[in-house]
Amino acid sequence: MKTTDALILKKSDALMFFASVASKMRLIAPKRFFGGDVMFDVIESPKDIVWEYGHDIYPPKRFLLPHYEDMFRYKTGKSVEVEGGIEAPMQAIVGIRSCDVTAIRFQERFFSNPIVDPYYKARLDNTVLFSLVCGKPPRKECFCMCCDAGPYLDAGFDVQLTDLGDRFLVEIGNDKGREACAPGAYMLGKAQPKDFAERKQIELQADSLFETQAYIAKAINYISNNDVPEEVWEEIAETCFRCGACTNLCPVCTCYTVDEIKLADGSYVRSRSWDSCQFAGFTREASGYNPRPTPGSRILRRFYHKASYPYIVRDGRHGCVGCGRCVFTCLADLGVPTVIKRLRRAMPKYFEPQEKAAEV
């Protein structure tokens, strides 16, 4: 079943290798911006790739499900003409973290099951993921260990790179990865047992360095059984700013809204852009009726989608990859680990026998 090829790429050859990859497709990689921030962007030359970086807070899902995208254009007039077409350039995302790869695989399944989303599919079909094993947690908020999404992958990647000091261990996961590496294949040597030993060492070391923990299984049990009373959710949501950052920056979240935009020449664009279930308007109907009227009901929605048994059955895994973006972006500290911690703290009293609860 496993058809992974393991190869070795010397770091001195890395520039040449990625230049050869870039001959077929555009390269997207972490790049240092003016001011020092490292973010994924289309790079001109492999020289710009930054291998040591924290976490791009703006998830790389944006190259597959853009923050804003045109779906099709149309002209109105005597008769309506619709023009469609999907722009999907060949691209390689180099240096993407394991958690983001897992998230993209989650989205791939969501967007093709049971109905295929043509935009996402076209983009993903033309995208090769060169994921990078995290030798240590890139940020202290990371908790992919608790979410089965990192710091290294067993499957799901097209190509996986492990930094072994003076060389990369290159694992090729599928034909797409093999094809992308083909122009530079002459630079790749065969991996030796000592390379695997070193890789194993890095994995073990990485596993021991995680600080943040999220007890996802506990949350799944509470939420799937519908045990958490409304008041607990309302209490948790009290500090929520309704900014939607947790869901927009989540590499797994896929919800979008659709808008019509009028262009200067009188034609219209139907566009879609990221939306968030944390906004009150997400479910508000034209009549004014809102099935999710309170912040608590909306935060329950977010966690029901991330951690509940029916969704696990649907999506093949729970909807958190432990990238930690919601932790370091939320001003009110309502990231996944914190909310679960607060559930764990709030819930036991609801399970105590009545008399005992009365005594306290």
Binding site: V82, I115, Y256, A286, Y289
Partner: protein, 294 residues
């Protein structure tokens, strides 16, 4: 046998999607506009592409995403008989941005249609049963295809009651149908309004008052309901009290909706996407969704 909502034969994006991209609508032309109430119009539509029109079909309970070009897209349930092949009708209440823009359209205007979407009323499965249809306001529109199909195959079903409530006599939809149905001897039509007037000769009060007036055999009757959430709630409560089992109460739900194909995430109720797995549910199915708080 436990009754559930039925799977449709045709579904946009699954069985057919002629333009190749399931987000690009097919163009339909407005053939006629019928004024129902001050804020409701019925649009009679036919596809511009005649070949597509021939292959197009839907089942009662399904809906379409209507694009009003320049304004946006909104989900609207079919309101015409599925047996009618040359056109289909959508009944639209002017409420939001898109529906208000749609009301400004004239005969001959164009709209975009993506559909049929969603599942359908289990009309095949309930053959042989008595049928009780309870609807309120514009909730009659998504039930009308089901009613027309049942009336067309009247001998396959038992007794047939239609209970219909609206705010005022002027707010009654499909008055021309109600007149015809009143004459029919093989069905019972009971109407009520919240606020009556001098000419009004039927009941006054919410639609649940009509439930007390009829004698149904809860063991061999299936109730199809559609209307405002508060109406559905009280109708369901009275039906359960009458002895209906949970799977014999079938309802069409609605939510704010964007894509119609289970991707945009707006219409989720717990893990169920109303657009692809709904909008028709039995009460029993709805009970498994804690978010509905039933």
């Amino acid at each position: 046998m436990v009754l559930t909502a039925a799977k449709p034969r045709k579904m946009w994006g699954v069985t057919d999607q002629p333009s190749g991209n399931l987000y690009v609508p097919m163009i339909a032309v407005i053939e006629d506009i019928i004024d129902e109430t001050p804020d409701t119009k019925t649009f009679r539509l036919a596809f511009e592409d005649k070949n597509y029109a021939k292959s197009f079909s839907f089942e009662p309970g399904q809906f379409v995403e209507v694009t009003v070009f320049g304004a946006g897209e909104a989900p609207i349930g079919f309101a015409s008989s599925p047996l009618e092949k040359s056109f289909f009708e959508l009944t639209v209440v002017a409420r939001g941005k898109v529906t208000q823009a749609m009301h400004k359209l004239k005969k001959g205007g164009q709209v975009g249609i993506r559909g049929p979407l969603g599942n359908c009323w289990p009309l095949e499965e309930i053959k042989g049963n008595d049928i009780l249809v309870v609807s309120g306001g514009c909730g009659l529109a998504p039930l009308r295809p089901a009613i027309l199909q049942i009336l067309a195959n009247r001998e396959e079903y038992g007794e047939f009651w239609l209970l219909y409530g609206a705010r005022t006599p002027a707010d009654l939809d499909f008055k021309y149908d109600l007149e015809k149905w009143k004459q029919r001897e093989d069905m019972h039509l009971l109407q009520t309004v919240d606020i009556g007037c001098d000419e009004w000769d039927c009941d006054v009060g919410v639609v649940t008052v009509l439930l007390d007036k009829i004698k149904v055999n809860a063991k061999k009757t299936v109730a199809l309901t559609c209307g405002p959430p508060i109406m559905i709630k009280f109708v369901t409560i009275s039906l359960l009290r009458t002895g209906f089992s949970e799977d014999r109460i079938v309802t069409s739900l609605e939510r704010y909706m964007k894509c119609g194909v289970g991707k945009c995430g707006h219409c989720c109720v717990n893990h169920v996407y109303l657009c692809t797995e709904g909008p028709v549910f039995t009460y029993q199915q709805m009970r498994s969704l804690p978010e509905l708080k039933l």
